[in-house]
Symmetry: D2
Subunit: 314 residues, 4 copies
């Protein structure tokens, strides 16, 4: 059965017809207004109309950046779109003439599910997906099933606390993992190094055009690839936090595989090597099980579309 | 179908015939030698022979304190019994004349499953069980299924790290949750208070017969029940760690219910009230979902028997 | 001997003639330009000319918010004034016709010295002054002498690290005491509580006019005085950090008295009671020495003038 | 003036005649009973009688491992000798026929003073001495004077807290610096590595004769000198804690020099290099002052004798 996956971003939606092997057969896009929820509903209808001309569509999966309820129908809250307890499933179905099932999924869950079914995780049953960009999100697969939680809000991995009294987090708590294992953390640590270790931070400062406030993650990746010792050290520190937090997750979930996606993954082995090292050094019950594998995400930017479509079929 | 559940302790085994409602219909016990694995195999056979005289038995579930592999057949390691990669399932089946399935389960998983099926968790699908005695163990139920992990070692909750550079743990790492949220932590904190706040610790010292080294958890529970301010404060601190760690788990798993079992639960609301308070204050996505409920375990000491029997039926 | 003390602020200077009992006999003020160092030099000359008409002046002490070298002559760095390695002593002396000694002091040191000589600390020899406003500064008196350090930069108390991997600090490090024990910390913790405990933060939100970003320290003080539970809790938390950090300082310096000055001290016992409690609970060698006393600063806003004048006489 | 310095250990005392250059001109020793305070008094008298036959003695300084009051006369508490509020000065003077002044000093203070006057610190005015053996003690010199504190208990540096909720300390508190920056910490971390990283700990295990419990500091030093990567890493970690804690002390005291003494100093640059690195990376106000120097103690085992004698002359 073919399904449509829709990935809803802040200013546009991208949709694809996905077959049962996770292949995207056709795509469609529409601009949207983040402040106008109804415009998003209509855009979903539009892409459905466009894509269903050439394909028989059995289900629609909509991936949204926000908290989605356990019934997979309502967006409880979204940080960047005007959704507050928004019945996205009902609204979209009301616009469609067809009787096609619609399900709503958290976008990180959708992307993680795509990795599990068709990407880095296709050979395992127990997988943790870490999506590390500005923040740290993720998805959990336990025994071959996506973990949604009692109220649909599972896998908010970035809000596991790793440091009591640690960095402030936007969620109002202190010491959330996200504040140590994310692109934002990488940049802030680099900016701090500009103050505390200026003589070692010359290359970073240069890449930022001389302005500490202009420093961004890609500058640090570039410097690290060029062999800049401070940048390498910053990735080692980032990897240490990812690996140590993953070891805590492994005490809880005992995964076979941990997939690292998101922009920070661009750094590749510069990040994964210290991550594995820290994981290995902090894992409990270490002698009694193999080490989980760490791999980069394999599905690229369309993972949300593929995962949402596939989850809509279940 | 009736199943036998067997709970293997250090010096004895206890077994029961369990019906599909989780009721124990009959019990049998045998002494065992922890250093003699074969004696345990024979004792399991013995209780089977005894109990199968009056009941038709469809399966045997064996609960063991140790790491059990994902195939539910081999004990990888047990701290108190001479099992190292011990094929307990095979050994027991080889002794039985009957063709009855035998499965091995971690004892905390078995007890947690009993709570989920017949006890505090019977109305939810997503539950975390915390077994807090000398140490901190647990079990996880996600979407109505027990979480075993890729290698059978999931739910080692006590080894989630909660304090970087924190208390040494027997597992070789620092800052494990178990070192803050367990009966041992409670006693050590009380002993520390005897040094730092002697004028407030008079009642505790008295209950310990004047000897700090003789202080035990029940002394602290007794003092707290009598209204001793320091003992109440110690339970508040213990509850704070339980609640804050639970909030981290809730960021990962979004449970509907957290069940507190084990000896420390004896303190009841003295422990649960601060636990709930801390959970509430540290929970992420708090405004977007109900608060998980905290309840004491309801199944008592035979939970391992009931849970092992029930899991053997699945 | 009469001395003039000059307190240099960002936009004005205040000066006073101080006698040997720490009494201010006359005062003078001048506006200044923080970006124009020479304007400050001239203003110092002006107030000297004005005040020396009626009094015979034996010395001038200048208190400046910045790092002052050990020779008490050069401002190495000031956060709010255009001084970088600025030879303030030389510049002022060059403007004066008179041959009167000029010394430069860090303003927190000057204020602490005034407390020691004429205020809360006049009966002790070993005193720690904590100046807790937006940030956390201080002064140390050991054996009756002001501690300046090898390079004049001692008593940067706010930069003692109290939490590894803790809150980011403007100095580039993490976990500085200032980030936990200051008015800024109080406000940020209150703002976090608006997110995590909105139902308990109604009074604070009201005092801030409904705008979390508009919340300021005095709002929290006011709410606490009115009995608002959350505000009281926030001061208790602030006091805990002050007390615990002070216990670390006491392990180093064994003071008889700790003086709390700065805006946060306005809260009085709401702050001092939890401070003392935490100090008592964390002090080492506690049974072998009396507890240091905690007192509010007694010298008011002119402490810098009095202290600078008195130090100039030494 | 010649003075006698007496170093009182658990089972013997060692005494020396010390001239004004810090040179020991003659020595004497006596066995003592730690449980018999009077035997120690008599032993001090004995060595005085012996040494005063050939030298004119102007003062006696007694160094004792314990808390000494600010009047330098009474031992408030000693961990290894039967002194509790023991008037050591009076008792010794009562035994002597001569009218020679007797002062009592904490042994770490005496050793630190010797380094300041005649050893590594002879060219500076502001010095911190860290004595790192099983525990972490120290001495402070500020502006050329020994810091004793209001009640004689200053410079208990090992009890500055560096990790909230950190390792338990014998003092009853958690997270004391001593639990991270001492020989005991080094050994415990090595023993933990035997569990968590057994494949990297083969050399250490071998040096301990195959028994983790038999592992001692000198084994780790030996392995590190031989290039064993884990041992080198353990010293790097130890040095990191020493350096970071020293940076906190530098925020308070701004020393020109930090002297590292005690058994752990045997590792030399294996320890000092990471210590300096961590100090540099965590120092506040770093760009505005030179870096304090780190040096090994230069006075050897008789530092207590030399320092006690010299302090008795003041």
């Amino acid at each position: 059965m073919h399904a449509i996956g829709v990935d809803i971003g802040g200013t546009k939606i991208a949709a694809g017809v996905v077959d049962e092997n996770g292949t995207i057969l056709a795509m469609a896009r529409r601009p949207t207004e983040p402040d106008d929820a109804a415009s998003i509903d209509r855009a979903v209808k539009d892409v459905y109309l466009e894509l269903s001309q050439d394909f028989e569509i059995g289900a629609i999966g909509v991936a949204a950046a926000g908290f989605v309820d356990a019934a997979r129908s309502t967006v409880l809250f979204a940080p960047n779109i005007a959704w507050r307890d928004y019945p996205l499933q009902d609204r979209v179905r009301a616009l469609l003439d067809a009787d096609v099932p619609v399900v709503v999924e958290n976008d990180a869950n959708a992307a993680g599910w795509a990795e599990f079914r068709f990407g880095a995780g296709r050979d395992v049953d127990d997988m943790i997906m870490l999506t590390i960009g500005t923040g740290l999100g993720g998805a959990l697969v336990v025994g071959g099933r996506l973990v949604r939680g009692a109220w649909g809000v599972a896998a908010e991995l970035g809000h596991m606390r790793v440091v009591p009294h640690g960095h402030y987090c936007g969620c109002g708590n202190e010491g959330c993992w996200e504040q140590y294992a994310s692109g934002s953390a990488l940049v802030r640590d680099a900016q701090a190094a500009l103050i505390t270790r200026p003589e070692r931070a010359l290359r970073l400062l240069e890449l930022a055009g001389g302005d500490p406030a202009a420093l961004e993650g890609p500058h640090i990746t570039e410097a690290a690839r060029q062999g800049d010792p401070l940048a390498i050290e910053l990735f080692a520190e980032l990897g240490r936090w990812i690996g140590e937090g993953s070891a805590s997750l492994a005490a809880v979930l005992d995964p076979a595989l941990i997939v690292v996606g998101g922009g920070v993954g661009e750094a590749g082995e510069l990040l994964l090597a210290p991550t594995r090292h820290a994981y290995e050094n902090s894992l409990s019950a270490r002698g009694y099980r193999p080490l989980a594998d760490f791999q980069l995400a394999a599905m690229g930017n369309d993972a949300g579309i593929v995962g949402a479509a596939d989850l809509a079929r279940i």
